[in-house]
């Protein structure tokens, strides 16, 4: 066994290596050269009796032959043996130097010089030849190694997975080194795991098995253990140094192992086996060390890439899950998506989801996939009373991981379910968000999973996504229920029943069908008999919008009961909205309909204009009364517009959902509705359906829509009933309303004038009597049988003698008597009732003396009372 070390030793090693393998052959050649030289001399003396000159010539030839065969040492040996022998044996049996004469010595010396020259020249030539050959071989080898290293570098660069890197290292480096085979192993704990290896037989010599303790006496383990290069030059060294590896093969003579490091620590090692001894050259070690560095870098890159890829893949799977979950708005949808995506996204073999039961006392199986229905029987319904992994995860809100099922209690129903389905690893997660747990998620695997931290983290993320979606869905569901309830409670249960008006109303939720909007409508009768119609829109969805809407609706009703003028009502409402925290953006159209007088007064606060369809069926928008949306500027006075509504006219109130479409402008929408209204002659119900159908023909309704339609109908013949406040305004309305009714009855102007004036007198009397609370009212009822109209005026006060400047009063009753066919004043406990009757045909009244003349008694008394 050798190792890297001292420079002097390096030099020695190099010398030894150069001599080493050829030493034996050289000794043989040298001996042969000497033998040849001796044989040549003896042959020359014994057989040929050569002259000394010839003998030396032959000797030189023998030296040349020895040179040829054995190289320089053989040639030198031949010279030493031959010339030494020649110098002493040439004079037979004398064994003394032959140089008895000068010539003899010169010949000997000359031939010796010739032989030396032959040897020198031959050696020089042979050496030059050898050097060239070695250089060529070395150049070829270097080229091949360089190529192999380049190839290795290329394949390492291309390796994107750790297994590619391992393959490149084990095979590519072995090739670059010219090794028989190799192995690449990674340290895992106190073991070394061979992840890639070349052919089995040579591999075993350096790495006896594919998974071995680091303590094994094998080159690869030693390199990994000691963190340095390890090599052996011979099989004997291998046997001595690494008995665990060496006994497995005899074909390996030398071996090299280098550690693979990352950031200072050894993560693994590579080992290579060579058939010939002494193959572990400095260059090979350098190549192997370089390859180990490159390999380590490539491994790190591959590891990062792998992590990134895994992360990206997981992120991608989670994203598609998130996208799918975002669409799910009810818990059942969430469960279905978890079931569908669970296996693919979480990488599990089985998924089951349990939700807490309605009663909150059990977990109910909501869905599963990858599992057999029959094996799920034991966990279909799990009482929270009974302990188990699922119930525990729910109750404690903590996940549990089971790489093996051993940790599960023997009586856990989950154990039966999993074992029955061949699941060997499992994880259980609570499903919910921020302490609200709604159920549990089970993931199961049929192959044992170590469930390492990063896997737990990913599965946890998956469960958390599902839990949040579930929580959202459950909260959404409850909010939607609340919002729906709120909205339904806000929309009037029934529209008022008023003679002379027919109503229709609709509320359509938005297209998604799940978002409750802030649209509303309301219709109510005011204390003076007029009718308030309102359609409004609170921007926003859900409970907040619905709650605001409720507030607006109630406030509007309250303000409307106090303020006759729609402008005042809207101004108050605007003030109220302005004062709300997080003032909502709200618009409305408020219209007060005075049925008897056929008029309406309206305000449109940031709302689309109401549509009026006149009695001839021509629709037009009510463009007046426009003001800002509620709460925008509560100090701007609100202008009220007025419109006349003949019998047969229809007013259509709606919210913007009707006229706003994503694919068209607002004007298009308004025109569509107008055209729709123009194309039909129908009552409110049919009209509303017709408009809705046309408005959304071929398009999906996106927003919610509230609509309220009122149509003025002819008053029921013969019936007139009006209760009015006992004040000046009430009197005026009475006059107008009665005139309208009479007109519709077909009464001529003269008759109308008489009847209205008579009723006025009666009512004025009632108003004068009304004392005390401002809320006093009077009531005018009318009946008609085609020929005669009968009126009845009742007040809550007491019919008293006309007061004030005496002479100016008291003409009322005579006037009534003069105008009407019959006048009766009846005193009742609740007040006074005046009955008036009059034929509908004009007549010339026969005067009834109201005054007896111009003489003194101008103050009429009570008559007929």
């Amino acid at each position: 066994m050798s190792s890297q070390g001292h420079p002097a030793r390096e030099r020695l090693e190099r010398l030894e290596r150069r001599l080493g393998p050829r030493t034996r052959g050289r000794l043989v050649a040298t001996a042969l050269g000497a033998a040849l030289g001796l044989a040549g001399v003896l042959l020359g003396i014994a057989l040929l009796d050569l002259t000394s000159a010839a003998s030396y010539a032959q000797l030189v030839g023998a030296v040349a032959l020895a040179m040829l065969l054995g190289g320089r040492p053989a040639g030198v040996a031949a010279i030493v043996v031959s010339w030494g022998f020649g110098a002493f044996v040439l004079e037979q049996s004398r064994w003394q130097p032959v140089f008895d004469n000068r010539d003899e010595f010169l010949r000997w010396a000359t031939s010796l010089a010739a032989a030396v020259v032959v040897v020198a020249v031959g050696w020089a030539m042979r050496r030059g030849h050898e050097r060239a050959a070695v250089a060529a071989v070395e150049a070829e080898r270097s080229r091949r190694r360089l190529e192999a290293i380049q190839e290795l570098t290329a394949s390492l660069s291309a390796a994107v997975r750790p297994s590619d890197v391992a393959d490149a290292l084990a095979r590519g480096v072995a090739e670059a080194l010219g090794a028989q085979g190799g192995a690449f192993g990674l340290v895992e704990g106190d073991e070394l795991v061979v992840v890639e290896a070349g052919p089995d037989a040579p591999r075993r010599a350096v790495a006896p098995s594919t998974k071995m303790p680091l303590s094994v006496r094998a080159p690869i383990a030693a390199a990994a253990r000691e963190g340095r290069s390890v090599w052996v030059e011979t099989h004997a060294e291998l046997v001595r140094g690494f008995p665990d590896a060496a006994r497995l093969t005899r074909a390996v003579s030398s071996a090299l192992a280098v550690p693979v490091r990352r950031g200072g620590s050894v993560i693994g090692a590579m080992a290579f086996a060579f058939a010939e001894p002494g193959a572990v050259t400095l260059e090979r070690r350098a190549v192997a060390t370089l390859a180990a560095e490159l390999g380590a870098q490539a491994l790190e890159r591959a590891r990062l890439y792998e992590l990134e890829r895994l992360e990206a893949e997981r992120t991608g799977r989670l994203q598609s899950l998130t996208a799918a979950l975002a669409e799910s708005l009810v818990p059942a949808d969430v469960a279905a998506i978890v079931r569908e995506h669970g296996i693919g996204t979480a990488g599990a073999d089985a998924v089951a989801i349990h939700l807490v039961s309605d009663g909150g006392d059990a977990l109910e199986l909501e869905g599963a996939s990858g599992m057999d229905t029959s094996s799920l029987e034991t966990v279909r319904w799990l009482s929270l009373e009974r302990d188990g992994a699922l119930v525990s995860a729910y109750a404690r809100g903590r996940a549990s991981f089971h790489p093996s099922l051993e940790a599960l209690q023997g009586d856990d129903p989950l154990l039966d379910a999993l074992e029955g389905d061949g699941i060997v690893s499992a994880a259980v997660f609570p499903l919910g968000a921020s302490r609200r747990v709604h159920g549990v998620l089970l993931l199961g695997w049929r192959t044992a999973q170590p469930l390492e931290p990063h896997e737990r983290a990913f599965a946890g993320t998956f469960a958390s996504q599902c839990g949040q979606a579930l929580d959202r869905a459950i909260r959404y569901e409850s909010e939607r229920t609340i919002a729906e309830t709120l909205q339904q409670s806000v929309l009037p249960e029934a529209l008022p029943e008023v003679d002379g008006v027919t109503f229709a109303a609709r509320y359509l939720p938005g297209a998604s069908g799940v978002d409750v909007g802030g649209d509303w409508y309301d219709a109510f009768t005011l204390s003076d008999g007029r009718i308030g119609l309102v359609v409004g829109d609170v921007v926003g969805k859900g409970v907040r919008a619905a709650a605001t809407m409720g507030q607006l609706r109630n406030s509007l009703r309250a303000f409307a009961s106090e303020h006759a003028d729609p402008g005042d009502v809207v101004l108050r409402l605007s003030h109220m909205v302005d004062g709300l925290p997080e003032a909502p953006f709200a618009t409305l159209a408020y219209l007060v309909l005075d049925v008897p007088t056929r008029t309406c007064r309206y305000v449109v606060a940031g709302h689309p204009p109401p549509l009026l369809v006149d009695a001839s069926g021509n629709p037009s928008y009510l463009e007046g009364g426009r003001t800002l949306p509620l709460g925008v500027d509560a100090d701007v006075p609100v202008e009220v517009a007025e419109a006349l509504l003949e019998v047969g006219a229809t007013v259509v109130l709606y919210t913007d959902g009707l006229v706003e479409r994503r694919d068209a402008t607002l004007d298009d929408g308004l025109e569509r509705v107008r055209a729709s209204a123009a194309s039909v002659d129908a009552g409110p119900d049919t009209l509303i359906d017709h408009i809705l159908r046309d408005a959304f023909a071929g398009a999906e309704r996106e927003d919610d829509v509230a609509m309220l339609v009122a149509r003025l109908e002819p008053l029921a013949l013969g019936v007139f009933d009006l209760t009015l406040p006992a004040d000046r305004a009430g009197l005026r309305r009475m006059r107008e309303a009665l005139d309208t009714w009479l007109t519709e009855l077909g009464a001529e102007a003269d008759v109308r004038h008489d009847v209205v004036l008579a009723a006025w007198e009666a009512c004025a009397n009632a108003v004068e009597h009304a004392q005390g609370p401002a809320s006093a009212t009077f009531r005018l009822q009318g009946a008609h049988d085609g020929a005669v109209v009968r009126l009845e005026v009742a007040d809550t006060g007491r019919w008293r003698a006309p007061g004030g400047p005496g002479e100016e009063r008291g003409l009322g009753l005579p006037l009534m008597r003069g105008l009407m066919d019959r006048v009766d004043v009846v005193h009742a406990a609740s007040g006074t009732v005046v009955l008036l009757e009059r034929r509908l045909t004009p007549r010339h009244a026969v005067g009834v003396a109201a005054t007896a003349g111009v003489s003194g008694d101008l103050a009429p008394g009570r008559r007929g009372a």
């Binding site: 000046r728 006025w760 100016e808 009322g812 006037l815 003069g818």
Partner: protein, 125 residues
Amino acid sequence: MTAEMDDRPTTHERTAVDVIRQSPDVAVLVLHGQADLHSAPELREQLHGVIDEGAFHVVVDLTDASFVDSMTLGVLLGGVKRLRPQGGQLRVVVDKPGLRRIFEVTLLDRVFSLYDTRSEALERL
């Protein structure tokens, strides 16, 4: 009900009394629109005013009035009572049959002299 509405006169409800002094002796009161109990105080004030200022003959022109009630009649009757001791007259210009009928049915056409036009009413003064 509401004070707001009461204070909010609208055009067709407006009542006004215009006073035209023809001569120191003769005053013309022109009534517009609804001459009812609500406008009666103003009419009374103007009527008494011109009489107190010495108008001997008063012509009340109802040509432009659309509605006349008993309270207005009462005020006019009160005017007659004030003029009578001085021998003055109160003449009423009324052209609408409906309004004329009011005077007829109350027999006030016998108390006031009714004329169809203002010029007729002023003619013989």
